[in-house]
């Protein structure tokens, strides 16, 4: 009861505040994103810059746990509440578009041909007809993190360049106790982390396969190439014994604790590794396949204008969208969050492309693929179960991958039916 009263009082106050602010001809727009420390502080910095350039516009940022994202957005926008500009995962665009929660970006301010040229090519998935519907500030890719101190201790010169070298390097980095239990892994493993991307878009392709056909509507990794990729991946634990699934609970935890020689992860991990005291780490491009094939996985979050934004709020939102997709904004995002610029003009500058940390990720973008997920956690689960069946139940790679392909195909069919 007390809190209801308080809410009422607050609503009253905000109402009064809104009256005053509109009297001063100021526009307030709302921006929503999920909570991730570095992203929030980067956005705060961008909002500050934007407001300095546009003193008549204020941007209010709201953030909340990732898990609540869709529920909140879906409930708020139709009710005329919530964001004017919203951040969403690239894979959700279709759902948001069909539900009429977002509106296309005006072609006058965001000309299609110009964007086609200035952004990395995978961003074109956000285009339909004469309009782009959403644009990213930053993109992500994968790379191989390695622990410099452990490399020095083991007398290893540098990170492995090929998959064979990866195995050999990992062997030197693995430590076991008297009973043969692994106490330090050569390389972390876990499909729950980024490894399912590494498997899909990198290993399967490097073994000569193509993980999906028909614009990601058909699973295509239940092939010889897929089996080879799976044998290689599970072989790291079973055959070469350089890793253990679920070692130290989470791959990134093992790497942070200095108990893992190598770790494949996304560019978003840089920020938290930077803060880990006593960890000396380096980054390298993902190892190439047996025939030299390079591959990588890229994903991104986009910003879009919601259907709630109208009139002067719409104009302000367009201005804000332009600001947060500008070259300067991308540089801020790179510096603060460690996510890669979505435009080659920012990403491939001398300084960025040769950066010791960001360089390997940015160079990876040139040969990266973007999986069109319909239900990322469900599709990930299929691959996790595939590895569990081999790890715990001793199933063969051929059977495991056949079941996984079937399960994932079912998810795709349910969505595209």
């Amino acid at each position: 009861m007390k809190s209801t009263l308080r809410t009422l009082a607050f609503t009253g106050l905000t109402g009064v505040a809104a009256l005053f602010s509109s009297a001063a001809h100021a526009v307030e727009i709302e921006y929503w994103q999920y909570f991730f420390d570095a992203r929030v502080s980067a956005m705060e910095q961008l909002i500050e810059g934007f407001q300095a350039e546009n003193p008549d516009i204020t941007v209010k940022m709201t953030h909340f746990p990732y898990a609540d994202y869709r529920t909140k957005v879906a409930a708020a926008i139709p009710a005329g509440e919530g964001p004017d500009v919203v951040q969403l995962f690239y894979g959700w665009l279709n759902d948001y578009k069909e539900a009429q929660l977002i509106q296309p970006l005006p072609a006058a301010d965001f000309p299609v041909s110009e964007i086609d040229e200035s952004f990395f090519p995978m961003v074109q998935a956000m285009k339909e007809g004469d309009n782009y519907w959403a644009l990213p500030t930053a993109v992500r890719s994968l790379a191989l993190f390695y622990n410099k101190r452990l490399f020095d201790d083991a007398g290893i010169d540098g990170p492995p360049a090929t998959l064979d070298e990866l195995v050999e390097t990992a062997k030197k980095l693995t430590a076991v106790d008297g009973a043969g239990n692994i106490t330090q892994v050569g390389i972390t493993a876990g499909m729950n982390a980024q490894d399912h991307h590494w498997f899909r878009e990198v290993l399967v392709r490097q073994m000569g396969g193509d993980p999906y056909s028909d614009d990601y509507k058909t699973v295509n990794y239940n092939t010889e190439a897929g089996q080879k990729a799976l044998d290689f991946y599970v072989g790291l634990a079973k055959e070469h014994k350089v890793t253990a699934f679920g070692f130290m609970d989470e791959p990134q935890a093992a790497f942070k604790a200095g108990r893992a020689g190598m770790h494949i992860d996304g560019s978003f991990r840089i920020g938290s590794l930077d803060k880990t005291r006593g960890l000396k780490w380096g980054v390298a491009e993902l190892p190439v396949g047996p025939d030299g094939t390079q591959s990588n996985y890229s994903s991104y979050w986009v910003n879009a204008i919601t259907s709630k934004a109208e009139g002067e709020k719409y104009d302000a939102s367009v201005k804000f969208m332009k600001y947060i997709t500008s070259d300067d904004a991308m540089q801020v995002w790179l510096d603060v969050v460690g996510e890669l610029p979505a435009k080659p003009s920012v990403g491939l500058t001398e300084a960025n492309a040769n950066d010791e940390v960001f360089g390997p990720f940015i160079r990876g973008l040139a040969y990266a693929h973007t999986t069109k997920f319909v239900n990322e956690s469900g599709q990930r689960q299929a691959l996790m179960d595939m590895v569990s069946r081999m790890d715990i139940e001793g199933q063969s790679a051929a059977d495991a991958i056949a079941i996984a392909a079937e399960e994932e195909q079912k998810i795709l069919d349910d969505y595209y039916k």
Binding site: T71, A74, D177, A179, N181, M248, D249, S388, D391
Partner: protein
């Protein structure tokens, strides 16, 4: 006002009673019954949370019936119930029975048993999750390794994972059940025990003829309460298996986690609502059966 004045005292009492009841009734109507009703409706629809809803008849239920994961999850849910309820009932009774006789540091011990109940399930689940890890970080496995005993895969196993997840859940609920049992024990008139003593009856007979029969209402409450708790188990499983929710290979997945996953990862609200209706039905049947079986005269 005259209308009210003309009422009989009996009618006035009713008016007053209902005006006080109005708030909780309204609350339950809006917060409980309306969403429950909506869930029933959604279970016959297809909805991805964003777009419009479309009617699909019994499709969701048919899919559910043919879903092997559902049957696995169904079995798990009952495993939680059928292991969790008896184990926690016996444990909490044994503890309460002895704690009741104990005077030395009684309050301190009672506090220790009650503490886990007040602790956040999330924090507890994470601590236990780390206890269960292998070397070099897991407490249990480090102890085993210290004695040269082979490692036990607690969570990364299709057979051990469910009991491993259940253990802290039982431990967490124990404090509450102990308190309820102790209240029940205290409510038994001392004169019965004195009479038994005069008659020279042994402790076993006292336990089975006096204590347990008189604790029946307490036990009914605890059984129903903890059954509902175990059928709805979620926080412990979710937090101990976030790397592979309900895994490995669905071996720990309870119905509520499946509902959560379908609704908020798959965004298949209709299918999730159908699962919810099934859970509702199970809870209803189990509670009714238990009430009937254990009803005191």
């Amino acid at each position: 006002m005259t209308l009210y004045r003309n009422l009989t005292i009996k009618q006035k009492q009713i008016v007053w009673a209902w005006s006080f009841l109005a708030l909780p009734v309204l609350f339950y109507g809006v917060i409980r019954f309306y969403p429950t009703g909506t869930a029933f409706v959604i279970s016959f629809q297809e909805w991805n949370l964003l777009g419009s809803r479309t009617w699909t008849g019994f499709d969701n239920y048919v899919t559910l019936w043919n879903d092997p994961v559902f049957w696995k999850v169904f079995k798990n849910t009952f495993a939680y119930l059928l292991i969790g309820t008896p184990v926690s009932l016996v444990l909490s009774f044994v503890i309460a029975y002895h704690l009741d006789k104990l005077r030395f540091m009684h309050n301190f011990l009672r506090m220790l048993y009650f503490l886990p109940f007040m602790t956040s399930a999330v924090a507890m689940a994470w601590v236990w999750r780390w206890f269960y890890q292998g070397v070099p970080i897991g407490l249990f496995n480090n102890i085993l390794a210290g004695f040269g005993i082979p490692q036990i895969e607690f969570l990364n196993s299709t057979t051990n994972a469910l009991p491993a997840v259940l253990a802290p859940a039982i431990w967490a609920g124990l404090g509450f059940q102990v308190i309820i049992f102790m209240a029940g024990l205290r409510a038994i008139p001392v004169s019965f025990y004195e009479a038994a003593k005069i008659d020279g009856v042994g402790w076993w007979t006292v336990l089975t003829q006096i204590t347990l029969p008189l604790l029946k209402p307490t036990m009914v409450f605890i059984v129903v309460f903890s059954s509902i708790g175990f059928l709805r188990i979620f926080d412990h499983v979710f937090n101990m298996t976030t790397n592979n929710p309900g895994g490995p290979l669905n071996s720990t997945k309870p119905l509520v986690l499946m509902i959560y996953d379908t609704a908020f990862n798959g965004f298949n609200m209709g299918y999730a609502a159908a699962q919810t209706v099934v859970l509702f039905t199970i809870l209803l049947i189990v509670s009714l059966v238990q009430l009937r079986l254990l009803r005191s005269e």
